[in-house]
């Protein structure tokens, strides 16, 4: 639940948002290098430049709230509090990975924390979250279900089906669109004839947009949206304008990106903006440096543990296709 920070002096909240964003940034910079070194199997989609969004939203989430994510899900996962060692181990395909190395980067999940999984299928998180919200609503504790998806996902029909149902049944779904302007190698404007804002209006769903690279702006919209959702058991759309700093995936040559975009993006770096916001909020001298150092140290430690872990034993291949010995419900 939200820490009790005065609306006009969210210094404590900003600190914890910043810390989350730094954890994500460090982890992804690490993964970027591991990929270059040939140590990450499979596809790797980094969210560098988008860290402030989930970091701010998670500030207002409890463990009972659920989150679903997409292919670019590292930030969503770590922000929800998933253990960094298990996270690294998973992406490195190790036996100690949080999913035992079965899923990898596109499928990190932690059901105990309500993290229902990254997802390799664009827009698949939407109906899963809508169903999760149906369950949460039934519990009557004011919990909410968050789905993170990209602007490219907006072309999928499931968006329509889920906006309709969430509105119709008044389900506490937070539809969080991370609008980075890109859908793989195409500018999303070449794929969409509709604005999310206008869809929100058509479906009668509360809508807010924000600079997704500004922790303070994200803090404010997230607090307001989630607050309204808990109070009214309603869906809400958040459109967060952000930047995909890296390629669609690592290894992407990005010859399609316009000149000057890199400069624009670095001017909008969420970590740099976050530092300014912390200073404006009067955060004590040295806090940033200390925090950065703490985060780095934890990152290094987690990575080392993960790298030391073995690959999964091939003999475990057929475990967990089905549930042995009945169900234990969360």
């Amino acid at each position: 639940m939200s820490r009790k920070t005065a609306p006009n002096n969210p210094a404590e909240a900003l600190k914890s948002i910043y810390r989350r964003a730094m954890i994500i940034r460090e982890a992804e910079k690490t993964l970027q290098q591991l990929f270059v070194d040939g140590r990450v199997p499979g596809f790797l989609h980094l969210s560098i430049g988008q860290e402030a969004i989930a970091s701010a939203i998670s500030e207002f989430l409890t463990p009972g709230d659920t989150v679903s994510s997409n292919h670019r899900g590292h930030g969503h996962t770590l922000a929800k509090g998933v253990d960094l060692t298990g996270f690294f181990a998973e992406i490195l395909g190790r036996a100690t990975g949080i999913c035992g190395g079965r899923g990898g980067s596109m499928h990190v999940a932690d059901l105990r924390l309500g993290m229902l999984g990254a997802n390799g299928i664009v827009a698949a998180g939407l109906p899963i979250t809508t169903g999760s919200a149906l369950a949460l609503k039934g519990r009557g504790k004011g919990e909410v279900a968050v789905v993170y998806f990209g602007d490219g996902a907006l072309a999928e029909g499931l968006v329509h089906e889920c906006l309709n149902i969430a509105s119709l049944w008044s389900l506490p779904v937070l539809f969080c669109c991370e609008n980075n302007g890109w859908s793989e190698f195409s500018p999303t404007e070449k794929q969409l004839a509709v604005q999310l804002k206008d869809l929100a209006a058509a479906f009668g769903i509360a809508y807010a947009e924000a600079d997704g690279n500004d922790m303070l702006a994200m803090h404010d919209v997230a607090r307001d949206a989630i607050g309204r959702m808990r109070a009214g058991c309603i869906p809400h759309i958040l459109e967060c304008h952000t930047t995909r700093v890296r390629g669609h995936y690592e290894g992407d040559r990005q010859d399609y990106r316009p000149e000057g975009e890199a400069d624009e993006m670095s001017a909008r770096d969420p970590v740099a903006i976050g530092r300014r916001r912390l200073a404006e909020a009067g955060v004590e001298n040295g806090w940033i440096e200390t925090t950065d150092a703490e985060v780095k140290a934890a990152n290094t430690a987690a990575l080392e543990t993960a790298l030391a872990a073995p690959l999964p034993d091939a003999a475990t291949l057929l475990a967990d296709v089905y549930t042995e010995g009945g169900l234990r419900h969360g």
């Binding site: 079965r102 999940a109 229902l116 899963i128 999760s132 149906l134 029909g157």
Partner: protein
Amino acid sequence: MAESRYVRAVTRAMQDAMAADASVILIGEDVAAAGGSFKATRGLLEEFGPQRVYDAPIAEAAIAGMAVGAALSGMRPIAEIMFMDFVTLSMDMLVNQAAKARYMFGGQGSVPMVLRTPHGGGLSAGPQHSQCLEAWFAHIPGLKVVVPATVEDAYSLLRAAIDDPDPVIVVENKALYALKGDLPDAPAPARIGEALVRREGMDVTLVTYGGTLWTALKAAEIAQAEGISVEVIDLRSIQPWDEAAVLASLCRTHRLLIAHEAVEAFGVGAEIAARMADIGFDELDAPILRVAAPFSPVPFSPTLEGEWRVSETKILTALRRLMA
């Protein structure tokens, strides 16, 4: 023990499960106020209220997907897809999400959902309202698939599916909904994966499931008069399926015929035949035969649909060929 229709046994299974477990909920098109297109959910809205029984918009992908999400969040949802032909719209949610979540999350959790849907022809419902697509699901690790043929199984297999911790596709049969049969007051729970010998015999093992069971039993009766003794095995569950029961029967009869309503090519019978041509090879005294639908869409006109469907005559011809 009372007589019940198949469809009422389906209803009672849901009713009993919902009474026993508050986490069981229903989602489907017209399942609440209207009680279902085939009336399988009749009375459940009235008994359990709108927080348990949801009339969904026409959105099959979202219906299946919501079931996945609700199941991952502590519920035991039962989704209804009105005709099996419409699961074509739900495949991602069933195959990429429900089936894989447990495995790809390293066994962290389960997806205790059920998807009920009726297959089958015989009603002149035409090419898009008659298909039997269960082989698709049987091919997908992580899913279970049951196909109740009797009134009692309509209850017991559905209850077992609801109780099961993993996603189960329950394939009902439109032409069986009106079937009458005995339903015990407290039906024994079914074990998913267990076949039943519905008729004992010595000469041929006839493996079947779903509506074709009844055609098979009639054909076996006629064959008996011709001196062919047919053992009829009702698979009941096709994923997992009871390989041991089929093999045991084959070891007695040494002849195998498989019959089902679905298209023969790449259908469920192919897997049964393939397994027996491996592990049962030494027992076989004759070719393995299949009687199933020919390779065309299900035609509308009754003369064509009648020709398309498995019949006693087709089964008898195969039985005679096996004994020749």
